[in-house]
């Protein structure tokens, strides 16, 4: 298990050692159990532990940083000395350096005090066995993971800031195949007990059986019903490339010059909220500042951006707690988007759809152009025709190339089924199913 007290002692020792003008110490430790399996056995069954101590110092306006993976007092002392050496060798003082943050009111952090998710290889093997057995019973071949991880982060600095948080996460992700059909289901929860293993297996198998014998349909503009993971893989690009104040300043965001304007349909409200009951992630940012809940879009109107202390200083506001680990060229990044749900289930979104496509998951979504947030990606693991309000036969996968800004102006229904969902490139959002008209599929593939 990880040792928060030991991590804190390491950070304190580094601060005591440092003779720099200002010093920041970040201690991160990860423990992860993961069973990766294929049809009838684990192909990787592992527990890994990683550690990183990062020391950032300022000396006469020069900044330097060093990190070590060795969690001993000696290694941390060497790391402090190296950071100071780096700072002294920097030929030019760092520009516009703000003093490191002072201690923040404890109430701002709302530390969640989660219990660690303990590795339990035998229990994990039993649930993996149950999933693969259910798949085999339906003639399916399975591949997936079951994982549990704890990520400890401590941030302390020489101005008195001191915070620690344990982020915990359990995940089951299962893909099944039979004939030409493929289906997928996944659940993520802050605790090991929060996942119904059999329900995940039933969903993946059900999608697989239904997705066999897929027929091609013509690319073009379709009404789509996107399940939460598909919505997540789109919305994450708004998080990475849209809501940060620096991106808006530099014109690389779709919100450049549009804050205060109606940018999406009036059914769309988006917040960044690490305190949402389903959210995962640390409650403070890379500088140790508390992550605040930020209403980003209210009824389609862009209201706020996320800030770190540097952009907040330029904008004349306070940090929202969205700094990446410093120093960084990325600027503040939204990291816990929550799309406000509607009412009713996914099935309710199907009603009234004369002809459309239900999408389980998008694959390899990427950004073509930033100012309209034009994205491209493929459907995957369960794509179905919707006719007269009913889910019909499977269709072959297709590529979309679509501005997310335009798409979120054409939302005609939002489900009440919001849940934590991730995407291929990582990141988590809390999102419901969404129905969108005129979604552009630009080409097809062979399966």
């Amino acid at each position: 298990m990880l040792h928060p007290e030991r991590a804190t002692r390491l950070a304190e020792a580094a601060l005591r050692t440092s003779k720099a003008d200002e010093t920041e110490v970040v201690v991160e430790q990860l423990e992860q159990e993961l069973n990766r399996f294929t049809a009838d056995h684990p192909v990787q069954n592992l527990v890994r532990r990683l550690s990183r101590v990062s020391v950032r110092v300022r000396v006469d306006g020069h900044e330097g940083k060093a990190s070590t993976g060795t969690a001993t007092d000696d290694a941390v002392r060497r790391c402090v000395a190296q950071a100071i050496d780096v700072a002294k060798r920097t030929p030019r003082p760092a520009a516009d350096l703000l003093p490191l943050p002072e201690a923040q009111p404890a109430a701002d952090y709302r530390l969640r005090g989660r219990d660690p998710v303990a590795p339990d290889p035998a229990d994990t093997a039993r649930s993996v066995g149950a999933m693969t057995a259910r798949a085999r019973a339906e003639g399916c071949r399975a591949a997936g993971i079951q994982s549990a991880e704890n990520e400890l982060r401590v941030v302390m600095n020489s101005r008195g800031l001191s915070v620690a948080d344990l982020d915990t996460r359990s995940e089951i992700s299962l893909t099944c195949f039979r004939d030409d059909g493929a289906g997928w289901a996944s659940e993520v929860a802050p605790h090991r007990t929060g996942i119904d293993v059999d329900a995940v297996a039933r969903r993946a198998v059900g999608k697989t059986l239904a997705s066999r014998d897929a027929k091609p349909v013509a690319p073009g503009h379709w009404t789509v019903i996107l399940e939460p993971p598909a919505v997540a893989s789109l919305l994450l690009f708004a998080a990475y490339r849209g809501f940060g104040a620096q991106q808006v300043e530099e014109g690389t965001s779709f919100l450049a010059g549009r804050v205060g304007e109606q940018v999406f349909g009036d059914g769309i409200s988006i917040a960044d909220d690490v305190h949402h009951p389903q959210a995962v992630g640390h409650v403070f940012d890379g500088e140790g500042m508390p992550r605040r809940t930020v209403p980003l879009v209210e009824r389609g109107v862009a209201r706020n951006l996320v800030h770190d202390r540097t952009t907040a200083h330029r904008y004349g506001c306070r940090s929202t707690g969205h700094a990446t680990p410093q120093p960084s060229s990325d600027g503040p990044i939204a990291s816990n988007l929550v799309l406000a749900p509607g009412a009713g289930a996914t099935e309710d979104l199907l009603r009234g759809v004369d002809k459309g496509i239900l999408v389980t998951q998008f694959h390899y979504t990427n950004m073509v152009e930033p100012t309209q947030l034009t994205l491209t990606g493929m459907t995957r693991n369960g794509t179905f025709l919707v006719s007269r309000g009913e889910v019909g036969p499977a269709v072959k996968n297709m590529r979309f190339t679509q501005s997310l800004v335009e798409a979120l102006r054409r939302v005609t229904g939002i489900g009440g089924d919001a849940r934590l969902a991730s995407a291929l490139f990582g990141g988590y959002t809390v999102v419901p199913s969404v129905r969108i008209d005129g979604f552009n599929f630009s080409s097809g593939t062979e399966f």
Binding site: R36, F37, T38, A39, D40, H41, P42, V43, N45, L46, V47, R48, R49, L50, S51, E63, G64, K65, A66, S67, T68, G69, T70, A75, C79, V86, T90, A94, A95, P121, A125, R126, V128, T132, S173, F177, W184, E250, G251, T252, A256, P327, S329, H363, Y364, T365, N366, V368, E369, T371, T376, M378, R380, R399, L424, F425, S442, S443, T445, E446
Partner: protein, 500 residues
């Protein structure tokens, strides 16, 4: 005690513990990664960081079941705990299903291998590096349209001991360097970016400081800036079927996504199905002589090529590095494999090769992101062999086409068939001559049809290795590095642009 000797002692201890606990086979990797990252953004130093990461990982097989555990404390007690945990994981995993892993044989190599370089980048003073970055950055942002300028360098040295219960004893040290610049221009709601010598941090190779010096970042900054500004008023990419000439850096990514990942045998077997996906290159395509590309297409995997980011003496399974054709004269002819999937290839080899080979052997593609992660099949250095064309002659030979350069956006389906790439910079070709510049140049295709349309490859004067420093794969996801050699290449009648 020297670091290597200390690691070797701890490693032997781990193997003893694992064997006594019941492992039939075990290996241990212990190592260190030292890195230095420097970046300048908009005239200010934004990253100046040194990192030193040590750790170890123990991998075991118990009755064919896999177990792996890793830690970061290099102490006898922690080594004992981690080795025992790896065996516990393997034992527990037997309860998850009846299947077991196969493990291809390999001689127990005992060797020392280091990558060559001329100038140690860690010995070059930081102020000299920052000065170079600031000079390039100053040129990049010398015009008001540039809203963000960026110049960076990255250096990494990895040292690792690998020991196995069957006697392998390897010590390897690799050094790689990278650097690049980019400019983002913005005007009237339009934003465009241009990079040099490649996108996403620039060019990376297994080399020393001499690589940075060879790039001439300062000398190329003005062109980089002007091309970013030029794109602000460029025409959109035309839509339709055109002949397409890809630059070497873009073709490197094309090779990576549509051949490299597609020929990873763990993907073919479904081991990656829940994350990055599977592959259309099923094992029947090996025995059946599948036509992957035109006769001109020779794609060679080579973990021995000088400068390649995947160049190494032995992979993380302890398999000696090799060179082989993945596609020979257009025909698919070999996978990328590790010791646990090698038998799938030998079982499906063409009959003549099957008869000649006594036992399956891995191609040596097993690599991990540090000893604290489990090795998986990774793309080796994979290159399109040069052809016979001069670039100017190739353009002159193209009646109605588009030239595209610089990686901007990439996406490919989970079987590696339907891909769509957008580049930073492009220009139309009309009647054999360069015509207007186009922004967001995009092309889309289906992998085998695309490679079959290849009809001209530039010669070795235009051929070079391009580094890919950010290849993500596996659960937990690991980042690996590899290189792809390419020269500008033409493909006939490719779908370009995107219909709205």
């Amino acid at each position: 005690m020297h670091e290597r000797e200390e690691w070797t002692q701890l490693g032997r201890r781990a193997i003893d513990v694992a064997r006594r606990a019941g492992a039939q086979w075990a290996d241990v990797r212990i190592g260190r990664t030292e890195s230095e990252e420097l970046a300048v953004r908009n005239g200010a130093v934004c990253t100046l960081e040194k990192e030193d990461q040590t750790g170890f990982g123990v991998r075991v097989l118990v009755d064919g079941a896999h177990g792996f555990a890793s830690g970061f404390e290099l102490t006898p007690d922690e080594v004992d705990r981690v080795a025992a945990l790896a065996v516990e994981l393997a034992r527990a995993g037997r309860g998850a299903g009846p299947g077991r892993l196969s493990w291809a044989a390999e001689p127990a190599w005992r060797d020392v291998w280091t990558s060559p370089f001329m100038i140690d980048p860690f010995a070059v003073p930081i102020d000299r590096k920052i000065d170079l970055l600031l000079r390039a950055d100053g040129i990049l942002r010398a015009k008001p349209e540039i809203t963000a300028s960026h110049a960076s360098m990255s250096f990494r040295r990895e040292s690792q001991v690998l020991l196995s219960s069957d006697g392998a004893d390897l010590f390897q040290v690799t050094l790689r360097s990278g650097a690049g610049i980019s400019a983002t221009a913005h005007r009237d709601g339009e934003t465009q970016c241009r990079s040099y010598p490649a996108a996403f941090g620039g060019q990376y190779l297994q080399a020393g400081w001499e690589l940075v010096e060879s790039m001439d970042l300062v000398g190329n900054a003005e062109r980089c800036r002007e091309e970013a500004i030029e794109l602000l008023s460029a025409a959109p990419c035309p839509v339709g079927e055109k002949d397409l000439i890809l630059s070497g850096d873009q073709l490197a990514l094309q090779i990576h996504e549509s051949v490299g990942h597609a020929s990873e045998l763990d993907r073919v077997q479904g081991w990656e199905a829940n994350f990055a996906g599977t592959s259309f290159v099923d094992t029947g395509k090996l025995s059946g002589g599948f036509r992957y590309g035109s006769d001109l297409v020779n794609l060679v995997a080579d973990a021995t090529v000088p400068g390649g980011l995947a160049t190494i003496g032995y992979d993380d399974d302890g398999v000696r590095s090799q060179r082989w054709h993945v596609v020979r004269d257009g025909v698919f002819s070999g996978y990328l494999t590790s010791r646990d999937v090698a038998h799938f290839e030998s079982q499906n080899a063409p009959a003549a090769e099957r008869a000649a080979s006594s036992a399956p052997r891995s191609r040596g593609c097993s690599r991990a992101e540090g000893p604290w992660n489990v090795p998986i099949v990774r793309i080796s250095n994979l290159s399109l062999m040069p052809g016979r064309w001069d670039f100017d002659s190739l353009v002159a030979d193209t009646e109605d086409g588009v030239y595209m350069a610089g990686v901007k956006c990439w996406s490919i389906d989970q079987q590696r068939l339907n891909f769509q790439f957008t580049c930073e910079y492009g220009w139309e070709i009309k009647g054999g001559k360069r015509a207007r510049t186009v922004k967001n140049p995009t092309y889309q295709g289906i992998t085998p049809q695309f490679w079959r349309s290849c009809d001209a490859i530039c010669d070795d004067r235009h051929w070079r290795l391009w580094g890919v420093p950010n290849c993500g794969k596996g659960q937990p996801m690991q980042v690996a590095e590899m290189s792809h050699g390419a020269a500008p290449t033409r493909f006939r009648k490719v779908s370009v642009g995107v219909s709205e």
